[in-house]
Every structure is written in structure tokens, then in C-alpha cells.
């Protein structure tokens, strides 16, 4: 593998200083499940690798009245085992249990998944559906970017050299709300999404009318997408089959999938409709306090 220096700062200020000093020649290391492979294959050629796992701010995982704070380096196993994530930010737990196998989940982070900016990233639609906001630090201070605006193309995002994703903040879910992520793959596990869909919904006190919703799509465009019209089609409605179908049709309108070995464009467009309906049904069930029997791959 390419020769590089390794730094493991213990403060955010020191990490930002290093990233600034090496201006584009360094790469932050969280779980390394993408980075180390990319360095080995030559896709990335950093001179310095900055391990960010010893910085307290990047390891934060706290849920409270103000919402959820998720440090960019927290691994998927830790996230999916967290009680508040499982109960209130369930789509994140769904994503974290289907990214790779157990070994990968023990290392890989949602922050890294976001920064790798793959169109088929399994956690990004969940982050978008739950209204995640990315907190980015640099020598100039911090700035915030909504998750749906973070990725700008395959492998590309809004981070400039010297900037570091510190954490993702999520608003506290309203009463009677639920979320879900599911993907379609032709296997039971260990595969890349043909299509992935995230959704969060809030019901009124009767638990029959949708008063807020966010729907997000993965693997059907150059970046994960927020399906604004699909969510709008749900507001004020009861989640009947027809209403969910309308939302699925609206989501298909913004999907621009490619043909590849995982599926044709036509197949993916069909799947968007099917998965939006199924994911919304799951999110609604959770919003009603029902247990969703979601087994990955089924």
C-alpha cells in the first residue's frame, strides 16, 4: 500500500489544524472500511491519514429533548444497539444492521458513509428522512448543511479541503412518528442496494392522518435524493393503499437511475414505487406504535 504518515489527534482543534496544514493531501480515518480499500487500490492517494476516532466530539451519541447528536466516527454496531436510536430514530438502526456484515458494522460509521458519498449508501436516505443536519468544522469555524444537500455527485460532497464532518444532528421526533429504511437486493444480506428508500412520518392524535413526512431515495440518481413531492402527496391524508401509491408515483418522477449489473433503469423505476409504498407502510406502523417485523432481505 502507498506510504503515508499516520496522525491520531485527540482534540477537534488539532484535527482541523492537521487537515488545514496538509490541505487536500490528508484524509480523515474513521472505520476505514472504504478509505483503506481506496488507498490500497490507488483510488485515493493521501500523504497523511488523520485518525479521528480519539476525538470526543466525533464519538458523541446522545439523545435528549433537543434531538439526537451522532458523532461522525460512531460505528454502526454502536448506533444500532443504542436504545434511543432503536426507539425514536429507527431508520438509522435499520440502515446500520444491513451495511456490510458484522465485521464491517463494527468499524464503519454513518459519518463515513455520508462522506464517501456513494449514490447507493445505505445510511444516507435514513439521515435525510430523519432531517439530519451535518455539522462541519474547519479553521474558519463551523457550518451546517442539511443532509440532503451534502452529497453533490458520486463520491463528491460539499466538504472543502481542511473541512471535517464532526457530527450529524437530528431533531427530536414528534409524538406519533415513525421511520423506516429498506432496500431491495437480490440476496438476503451483504449486497449493494438496487434501490433504497428512507421514510419518516408523523400522524395526528387519531393516528390516521399524516401531518408530516419525509421520503428519501438511494441508488436512483447521482446522489441520494429527498423526494419532496412524494412527501407532499401524503400530508393531510390517511395512509391508504391509494395514497401510498400516489406517493410512490411522485417519487418515481425524480428518479434518474442508470442501467448497471444490479438492475436496468426500468426495473429500478418500478422498484422505487414498490419500495416507497412498503417503506411508508413500515414507518406508519411504527408511528402507530406497532412492532414492525422487518427482517433484512425479506
Amino acid at each position: 500500500m502507498r506510504d503515508f504518515e499516520y496522525e491520531a489527534p485527540t482534540t477537534l482543534a488539532a484535527a482541523v489544524q492537521l487537515l488545514t496544514k496538509y490541505n487536500g493531501r490528508s484524509r480523515p480515518l474513521a472505520g476505514g472500511t472504504d478509505l483503506i480499500d481506496h488507498v490500497r487500490t490507488g483510488r485515493l492517494a493521501p500523504d497523511v491519514i488523520v485518525d479521528i476516532k480519539k476525538i470526543p466530539e466525533l464519538n458523541i451519541l446522545e439523545a435528549g429533548a433537543a434531538g439526537l447528536r451522532l458523532g461522525a466516527a460512531v460505528d454502526c454496531s454502536t448506533i444500532r444497539a443504542h436504545a434511543a436510536v432503536r426507539e425514536q430514530y429507527t431508520a438509522l438502526a435499520d440502515s446500520c444492521q444491513i451495511i456490510g456484515g458484522v465485521q464491517i458494522q463494527n468499524r464503519a460509521s454513518i459519518g463515513g458513509n455520508l462522506c464517501n458519498s456513494g449514490p447507493a449508501a445505505d445510511s444516507t436516505p435514513s439521515v435525510i428522512a430523519l432531517g439530519g443536519v451535518c455539522v462541519i468544522a474547519s479553521a474558519l469555524g463551523t457550518r451546517e448543511v442539511p443532509a440532503e444537500a451534502f452529497c453533490t455527485g458520486p463520491g463528491k460532497n460539499v466538504l472543502h479541503p481542511g473541512e471535517l464532518l464532526v457530527e450529524i444532528r437530528f431533531p427530536a421526533p414528534a409524538a406519533n412518528s415513525g421511520s423506516h429504511y429498506r432496500r431491495f437486493i437480490p440476496r438476503n444480506e451483504m449486497d449493494i442496494a438496487v434501490v433504497g428508500v428512507g421514510a419518516s412520518v408523523t400522524l395526528d392524535a387519531s393516528k390516521d392522518t399524516i401531518i408530516a413526512a419525509r421520503v428519501s431515495l438511494g441508488a436512483v440518481g447521482p446522489t441520494p435524493l429527498l423526494a419532496v413531492d412524494a412527501a407532499a402527496a401524503l400530508i393531510g391524508k390517511s395512509p391508504t393503499d391509494d395514497v401510498l401509491k400516489t406517493a410512490g408515483a411522485a417519487a418515481r418522477e425524480i428518479a434518474t437511475p442508470i442501467d448497471d449489473m444490479r438492475g436496468t433503469k426500468e426495473y429500478r423505476l418500478h422498484l422505487v414505487g414498490v419500495l416507497v409504498e412498503r417503506t411508508l407502510r413500515g414507518a406508519v406502523a411504527r408511528a402507530r406504535g406497532e412492532t414492525l417485523d422487518y427482517r433484512p432481505g425479506h
Binding site: 500500500m1 502507498r2 506510504d3 503515508f4 504518515e5 499516520y6 491520531a8 480515518l29 472505520g31 476505514g32 472500511t33 483503506i36 480499500d37 488507498v39 490500497r40 487500490t41 491519514i49 485518525d51 476516532k53 454496531s77 456490510g100 456484515g101 458484522v102 465485521q103 464491517i104 463494527n106 468499524r107 438476503n188 444480506e189 451483504m190 433484512p296
Partner: protein, 163 residues
């Protein structure tokens, strides 16, 4: 070349210090520096699970971990599984159940199984299959492996969960 680093770990229960380059993976350090060649290299990109070791009790693919990241960590490898000259329940069940052919994937499967049984001593077959999803075997077709894991779980439970 980047200068070598000293890494202090607890390796299979013993304090071990070694020198490595920042670019060396934990897999490379285990095999090439520490001569612990039980851990196998398969795909080198995290897909196959052959290089699975335990880091602070959790299974990880050692080809995707830098050796320097193991500083201060507890690392468990296949060399630390047997009890003296006796195989443990998992190794014994794999052997008796012919849950291996070429054997390259076996140390990874055994480490992954040890992690599963430490967390869930009586897994269902579906739990076993999902837990082992990150370990590939191109010889056996998995059924014998899954049966060996179930057998090891039963025996270990019957023996009072000793490990």
C-alpha cells in the same frame, strides 16, 4: 518512508509490543511482523472475512484496520482459541462436522463464531447465518459450517458456557 511506530497491544491475553509502518494493516503486522500466520488473507477489501480477528472483543476484518490502530487494544486471533493443546468447542465441531475443505476461510469463521457465542450462546439458525454473512466459503456450501456452529453452541451451553 514514514517512520515506524511502536504499537502496544494485548495479543491473545499477553502484552505485546511491535514495530510497524503506518501503512501496514493489522493483518500484515500479524502475519509478517509477529509471524502469526493463522489469520488468512483472502480478498484484502473487507468482503470475505478470512482475516477476521477480535478487536476489543468485536470481530473486525484485519485487512481494513491499520496496525497502528491496534495500539492500546486487545486483539484476539485464531492462535489464542485452543486451550493449551486441546481444541475448543468451536474448533472441535468444525473438525468433526467437516465444516472445512481448503481451510483458508476457517480461522475467520471460527473467530466470527467465537464472537457470536460470546454474545448469544444459543443462536437460531437464522441468527447464525446472518452473523456469518460477512464470511465467505467457496468450498463447503455453508450448511456444514452452520451445523458446526449450532453444535458448538449446544456443547458449550451443556458444558455450562465455559470459554
Amino acid at each position: 518512508m514514514a517512520k515506524k511506530r511502536v504499537v502496544s497491544t494485548t495479543l491473545n491475553g499477553e502484552a505485546v509490543e511491535f514495530l510497524c509502518e503506518p501503512r501496514q494493516t493489522l493483518l500484515e503486522a500479524l502475519r509478517d511482523v509477529l509471524q502469526l500466520t493463522g489469520t488468512k488473507e483472502g480478498c484484502t477489501n473487507g468482503n470475505c472475512g478470512s482475516c477476521t480477528v477480535l478487536m476489543n472483543g468485536k470481530p473486525v476484518t484485519s485487512c481494513l484496520v491499520l496496525a497502528v490502530e491496534a495500539d492500546g487494544a486487545e486483539v484476539g486471533t485464531i492462535e489464542g482459541v485452543a486451550r493449551g493443546s486441546a481444541l475448543d468447542e468451536v474448533q472441535q465441531a468444525f473438525l468433526e462436522g467437516a465444516a472445512l475443505q481448503c481451510g483458508i476461510c476457517t480461522p475467520g469463521f471460527i473467530m466470527q463464531t467465537e464472537a457470536l457465542l460470546a454474545e448469544n450462546p444459543n443462536p437460531t439458525e437464522e441468527q447464525v447465518r446472518f452473523h456469518l454473512a460477512g464470511n465467505l466459503c467457496r468450498c463447503t456450501g455453508y450448511d456444514k459450517i452452520v451445523r458446526a456452529v449450532m453444535c458448538a453452541a449446544e456443547r458449550r451451553s451443556a458444558a455450562g458456557g465455559s470459554q
